[in-house]
Amino acid sequence: MINNTKRSKLSNHSRIYRIILLLLFIIVFWNSKVFAYFLVDVESDPKYIKANGTSTSTITATVTIGQTGEPKAGALVIFMVGDYGSVDPVVETTDEYGKAQTTFTSDTTPAWAPITAQVTASMPGWEYSLTYIRTIYVCMVKIGLQVSDLFGSVEEAAEENPGAYIHRNIDNDNANTDGNGSPINDETEDTLSVENENDLNSISIDLQPADIYEGTVKIWRTNTKARVWSDSGKGAANAVVTNSTYKMWRLYDETERSDFNDKKTHLFVEGYLNTGNTLLTAEFRPPEGAVLDYDRVKCNFIAAKCGWQPTPQERENTETCFPYIIHCEWSITQNVTPNYNCIAWSVGITDRWMNPTIYDVILGEYVEEQWVEGVHYISIDKRYGNNDNAFDIEDDMDPFYYYTALYEPIAVDQTDAKAIYYDGYHGAKRKDGCTCGAGKWVMFESKCGDGPRIEHVYNQLDGSTIGYGTRCRYYK
């Protein structure tokens, strides 16, 4: 019992002693001014710079004497960086205000760059020196706007010139019609999602580093030709930039930041109501002021617009014949008429049907021409060719083009051809003066049998199921 009491007393003393020591230790470390000889403070101006390898931020280390708070002149400050960027100078001596400055130059890799200021001090009468280290972070920001267009992804260097080529959304993917059976262009539909919509191109905002919780991100357009959605099928709930000129996300607001992160890689741009172009810009603005970084894409909206869009039935008829024809890239330039065919139209004739040969069943002979219900049918073989009751390209087609239009089969390809002949008996005419495609498409025009006349990209009638065959001759 006695031993236990003694032990208990000793133990209590020991505890008190330990607590006092602990309190002293805490006081010393808590109030560093007591213990620290120097105090080092580091600031960056600005905190956010562009990650472009040239932007700079001024780093200022302020050294003060711990006990008095007076500036410490003549202290050597060593500035150090981590994996990103560089500082110059690396070593600087504090001035009369205790300040040493260096310039941090950004890296091209966006990141939070740590910058460390190190000051070593020897206390008078001490044989030891103390090293003080302070680290701050500078954010090297990069914002990118990436877009894919009709021809693939757009290289950074080409984003503003020539830019991205995107359909003006004039087609009718969901086959909706108005009360008169006319097609309703998809660009005018935005309340509900458009079924089968496939004319919007993806666009994404890439803000780096990802862990920025300050400032704002904005995407804006220079005119209303572009609309931005968060779903390729559109729909009012997915509108991002449709009625306003921009959409801004405040990154310091958790809800908006979350919305931005959800949508930034799932954005879709639509060409709206007009061809021409729009500049789309994504920008980052740090909390302290002006736009720091932006990326811009020129969106060129293109569509076959010389004619009008087909009804669902006309579209089905055409697509059945031409498997490679693409919505928005063809239009009807004249309604169905049996008065002329493709070969006639390839030289601009609209009042005769040019057939390879014509056999008159009643007469029992090949004839040069026929008239039925006001339509004039001409045999190319008999009128222009070698009149051998058989059709071939050299002896019949070439003379036809020569006699009717002075064309010869000497064009190199579609780029300089006035007319293209397909070996299954089809002719297409260059669509003179057509600016559809803004130079990216070579547009031709074909009269499809007794069906409509259409404008189309030169190669989109290839592989026809109606026997047009292959492009084989280019006339000019």
Binding site: I362, V367, E368, E369, E373, G449, G451
Partner: protein
């Protein structure tokens, strides 16, 4: 008396039934033809829609349904004309009309090739007869001048421009004793009727007999045909 009256009643009933049967039979036959025409017409139209984008004319006519329409013969011409009137988007039906009527569309042999089917139809047999008269006079004059090539050309024109409807005025002339038409009939029938080594009188009889048997298939049921008969 009773028996006599009974017989009369029975005879009247039998006659009445026969007439009824005849009329109904005709109607049923006509309806059958119309139905058959409609069916083939729709199927051919469907075919033409499928090949509408083809640049070759003949793709429209490479169809069994087109051939079925042709096989129905001149009796379907009123239906064809009806379609020409009502189904203006389907112009190819006029081709069937020309084929059934055996009229060429080549303006070199048919001076009226450019006229529409409706003009031809509404002109009726009367118009065909008038056209025939004109050409027949030319033909006779050419023969009288000894211009047999010219006569042959006119003969072709008569055949190609007036089609089967020309048989009616030709045979009428034969009926009225104009034996000049015999070479025309020979040509028109493509020598289908063998009159070799027959005398003129025999030929006349042969052709009259032949006409009696073929009148139906070689007569165009023009709107005015009833009046002419």
């Amino acid at each position: 008396m009773v028996n006599k009256n009974g017989n009369k009643i029975i005879k009247a009933l039998v006659t009445g039934l026969f007439i009824l049967w005849f009329i109904l039979g005709q109607n049923i036959m006509a309806n059958d033809v119309r139905n058959e025409f409609e069916k083939s017409y729709q199927l051919w139209k469907e075919h033409c829609k499928k090949v509408a984008y083809s640049s070759r004319l003949e793709d429209r006519f490479n169809s069994p349904y087109y051939e079925e329409i042709i096989k129905l013969g001149p009796q379907i011409l009123p239906y064809i004309v009806e379609k020409v009137r009502s189904d203006k988007d389907f112009v190819w039906i006029a081709w069937a009309g020309r084929r059934v009527a055996s009229i060429s569309s080549d303006p070199n042999v048919n001076p009226w090739a450019k006229e529409s089917m409706l003009t031809w139809w509404e002109g009726g047999q009367k118009q065909t007869n008038e056209r025939f008269e004109l050409l027949y006079e030319e033909w006779k004059n050419a023969r009288a001048r000894g211009s047999y090539n010219e006569a042959s050309r006119i003969e072709k024109k008569i055949k190609m421009s007036l089609g089967i409807a020309v048989f009616s005025p030709i045979m009428e002339k034969l009926e009225h004793g104009d034996e000049n038409v015999i070479p025309l009939i020979q040509d028109m029938t493509d020598n289908e009727v063998n009159v070799k080594e027959q005398s003129v009188a025999e030929k006349v009889n042969t052709y009259k007999t032949w006409w009696d048997g073929n009148k139906k298939r070689l007569t165009v049921p023009f709107p005015d045909q009833q009046a002419i008969e």
